[in-house]
């Protein structure tokens, strides 16, 4: 089983490496954005695992995007550094928002994060001398690595792939360590975790800041890839989409947000940016919560169960016979 899983992973990564060779620039562009969405969705997971509903993830993506873009554009900071700075700024802002609100019951945190999305949008909109406000920030340099500019879309695609794989690797290692076990324990029964000596406020904060950091990474890549930032993009809608990826994909397993982000972003690609995308997302979300609470990742198991049940009832002799 384990070997099979590793095999499937290797094939998937090989396929992703081949996308620029097989598809055109369109696919390269679409998949690079899918990878950004995967980073966003997976980085929300630690917070959700702790039982904290963060509905403001897009705000931290916005912070990372603007910070990295402005550093690169105005101070000619190399991409590696500006990205790291963007992610760190996002994490520090997460600390400032998270520290006061994570000590209270979950809904306070949820409400503060929703309001925070609006706060960041307004700041980006009003601080015109720095962000150009509603004219949008343009002329962001292309990403570079070790001084070499990644000029082609294909090379930027590989950067996105690398960032996604690295993020997933780090998050996976953390989730499968003792730290991940503690996060799960807080989500399941926070009073019991406390009674075993877990400082739940600190662990929630750590999970939240970690998420903010990687949202900042996703934002930084996005800024240098699209090369244009517009405040309303990072609004409430994007924040809920990131939550939707997690729920539709499934909350019970690390693969959930990855499957959710990939599945939904690819499926909604034909109507990206229109109202129908949101309608599609919200219906998918409602249907999942009501009829498949475990998300898409539990679907194969459920189907297998159904088939087993059917065949068992077909083959077993009836009591009357």
């Amino acid at each position: 089983m384990r070997r099979l899983r590793v095999g499937v992973l290797i094939v998937l990564v090989l396929l992703m490496l081949l996308v620029p060779q097989l598809g055109g620039d369109y696919y390269v562009h679409v998949f690079a954005l899918v990878f950004t969405n995967v980073i966003l969705a997976a980085s929300l997971r630690p917070s959700l695992t702790c039982g904290q509903l963060n509905i403001g993830h897009s705000a931290f993506m916005s912070i990372g995007a603007y910070a990295s873009a402005l550093l690169a554009k105005n101070l000619a900071v190399p991409f590696e550094v500006s990205m790291l700075c963007g992610a760190l700024v996002a994490a520090v802002v997460g600390l400032v928002i998270g520290y006061p609100s994570l000590r209270l019951r979950g809904v306070y945190f949820a409400m503060v994060t929703v309001a925070f999305v609006e706060v960041i949008r307004l700041i980006a909109q009003l601080w015109v001398p720095l962000t150009r406000g509603m004219s949008g920030l343009s002329g962001i340099p292309k990403p570079n690595l070790l001084g070499v500019t990644l000029a082609t879309k294909a090379s930027q695609y590989y950067l996105a792939l690398f960032l996604m794989l690295l993020t997933l690797l780090i998050l996976w290692k953390l989730e499968s360590s003792r730290l991940g076990l503690i996060w799960k324990s807080i989500g399941m029964a926070d009073n019991l975790a406390q009674s075993l000596g877990v400082n739940i406020a600190n662990h929630k904060l750590l999970a939240f800041m970690l998420g903010c950091f990687f949202a900042g990474v996703a934002g930084a890549f996005y800024a240098h890839f699209i090369r244009f930032l517009f405040p309303p993009e990072f609004g409430f809608l994007m924040a809920t989409n990131i939550l939707v990826y997690n729920y539709v994909g499934g909350r019970g397993h690390f693969a959930g947000p990855i499957v959710g982000a990939a599945f939904l972003s690819l499926l909604s690609e034909p109507f990206r940016g229109s109202a129908y995308e949101t309608i599609f997302f919200s219906i998918a979300m409602l249907l999942t919560i009501l009829f498949l609470p475990g998300g898409l990742i539990t679907l194969p198991g459920k189907l297998a169960e159904l088939r087993w049940w059917k065949s068992a009832s077909a083959h077993s002799p009836s009591p009357a016979a």
């Binding site: 000590r103 409400m111 109202a275």
Partner: protein, 288 residues
């Protein structure tokens, strides 16, 4: 700021504050009973405004009848949401919150193709201006205060003087004990949904003649209501009323001096500081 301007923004603050109070009361009522935050509250506000647009200004139904109709319509919708979303989830708080978020984005997004993107206006209901303490204020804005006030008093009487209200208070105290005493928790929760939705619809209906209508119009009032219930303490009805008045005044006075967006940023900074130093809210309310 001249004294005239101060009086004017105080009165406008009171009328905005009344809207905020209606929004916050519904939220805090639903939280007290079910420990959920109705994220769809802003979308229902928007639907309330559009209901007035169609019923009053398109079909020509008299304003007050249209107002009551809008509340009934969306109250029923609230009851249906309890039946079809809240009840099947069986009290799971997080899935309920997420489902309500999905409902919000759905209603907002569906608003564009259904209502069209045109700037819709509801014609003025109350004409003219009136002299208050030497300042001229539009009657439209003034009328919000008594109408919202009547709804608040009505809600107070309902909760404190009727059998259904007593059942709601019992659930707020202790759900299991209430169920053991024969309170039908499902029906009463459905009622709380209906009341919350109807109050949000009323807020939207009151604001419809003043602002332009669009599917995203509920987002600002929702965020304001969040700030109010954090300010007043989750689940506290007096907290929601005092918080609503405070935020209405701050909003109106600071917004006149600095602009609407800085006023919002300021109130956010304020609640973060409040949570840091006084986590139970301004009025020290600790939910049971």
């Amino acid at each position: 700021m001249t004294p005239d301007l101060l009086i004017q923004s105080t009165i406008i603050g009171l009328s905005i504050g009344s809207i905020y109070i209606l929004m916050a009361l519904g939220l805090t009522l639903m939280f007290g009973m079910m420990h959920i935050i109705n994220f769809a509250h802003g979308a229902i506000y928007m639907l309330g405004a559009f209901a007035i647009y169609y019923i009053f200004s398109q079909w020509g139904v008299p304003y007050f009848a249209a107002f009551v109709l809008a509340m009934l319509l969306l109250g029923t919708f609230g009851y249906l949401v309890e039946r079809s979303i809240y009840r099947p989830i069986k009290g799971g708080i997080e899935p309920t919150l997420v489902a309500l978020l999905a409902l919000t984005t759905f209603l907002q997004a569906a608003g564009y193709p259904v209502f069209g993107q045109l700037d819709k206006h509801v014609p003025p209901v109350f004409q003219g201006t009136r002299n208050v303490l030497g300042v001229m204020i539009s009657v439209e804005r003034l009328m919000i205060i008594p109408m919202a006030g009547a709804l608040v008093v009505g809600l107070y009487l309902f909760i404190n003087k009727t059998k259904m209200g007593a059942a709601m208070r019992a659930i707020e105290q202790d759900k299991e004990a209430a169920a053991l005493q024969g309170v039908n928790v499902h029906v009463v929760n459905g009622l709380a949904f209906a009341i919350g939705f109807a109050l949000a619809a009323a807020s939207g209906a009151l604001m419809a003649p003043i602002f332009k209508l669009d599917p995203m119009m509920g987002e600002q009032p929702l965020l304001k209501a969040f700030i109010i219930i954090i300010l007043g303490g989750l689940g506290s009805i007096p907290g929601a009323i005092l918080g609503g008045l405070m935020l209405g005044l701050i909003d109106s006075i600071v917004a006149t001096a600095l602009g609407a967006e800085p006023a919002f940023l300021l109130s956010f900074v304020f609640i973060i500081l409040l949570l840091l130093f006084k986590p139970t809210g301004l009025f020290g309310y600790a939910p049971p």
